[in-house]
Subunit: 102 residues, 2 copies
C-alpha cells in the first residue's frame, strides 16, 4: 500500500477552512483515481506538548506508490492539488510513501 | 478510530536509525496495550518538492482516543516513548487524533 499524508497547519479562519474542506475539497479528492480509502482527523490534532500547530490531517491510501503518483497526476488529482491554495491558508505539508506492517 | 502519527526527521545516521528502529523500537511499540495496527513507511518519504526532511513515518491505530491515551500512559507506552531519544537523532513529531472516513 501507499499513503499520501496531508498535514494542514492552523488556518487563519478555522470555521471557513472546515466548511470549505467538507463541502468542496473532499468531493474533489474523492474523485482521484485509485483512491482506496480517505480518512480525516476529527477534532483537535494534539501533540504531547499540547498544541500541535496542525489543524487537520488527511490520510489517503492507494494500492501502490505508482497508483498514488498516477492519481495525483490525473486531471482529478491536479484539480484537488490546485484547490489547496483556495483554503489552506496556514499551509499544508504533503508526504508520500509506501507502507508495510511493522 | 484514533491514530498516533510519528514523523521521524532525517537522523544523523540513517543506517543506525533503521537497525535500531527495526530491532529494538518496533518490539517496544508493538507491546503498547490497545494497539490495533502499526504501519511504517518503506523507502523514501517524498514531498511534492522532493526531499521531505522526514526519514520514516509510523502510523499506530487504536480503537479510540481514550485507548490511545491509555496505551501511551501504560508502562509499555512509557517505555516506547522513553526509547525515542535513543535513536531519533533528527527529532520526531508526534500527532494524535480521532479519525473518520471522509
Amino acid at each position: 500500500m501507499a499513503k499520501l499524508l496531508v498535514l494542514y497547519k492552523t488556518p487563519t479562519d478555522a470555521s471557513a477552512f472546515d466548511a470549505y474542506y467538507t463541502e468542496t475539497h473532499i468531493p474533489l479528492a474523492k474523485a482521484i483515481p485509485g483512491l482506496r480509502s480517505y480518512e480525516v482527523s476529527r477534532g483537535a490534532v494534539a501533540s504531547p506538548a499540547g498544541e500541535s500547530g496542525v489543524h487537520l490531517v488527511a490520510i489517503l491510501t492507494f494500492d501502490s506508490l505508482s497508483d498514488l503518483e498516477a492519481g495525483l497526476g490525473s486531471p482529478q488529482g491536479q484539480a484537488a492539488a490546485g484547490d489547496l491554495p483556495k483554503f489552506a491558508t496556514g499551509g499544508a505539508e504533503l508526504l508520500m510513501f509506501e507502507t508495510q506492517d511493522a
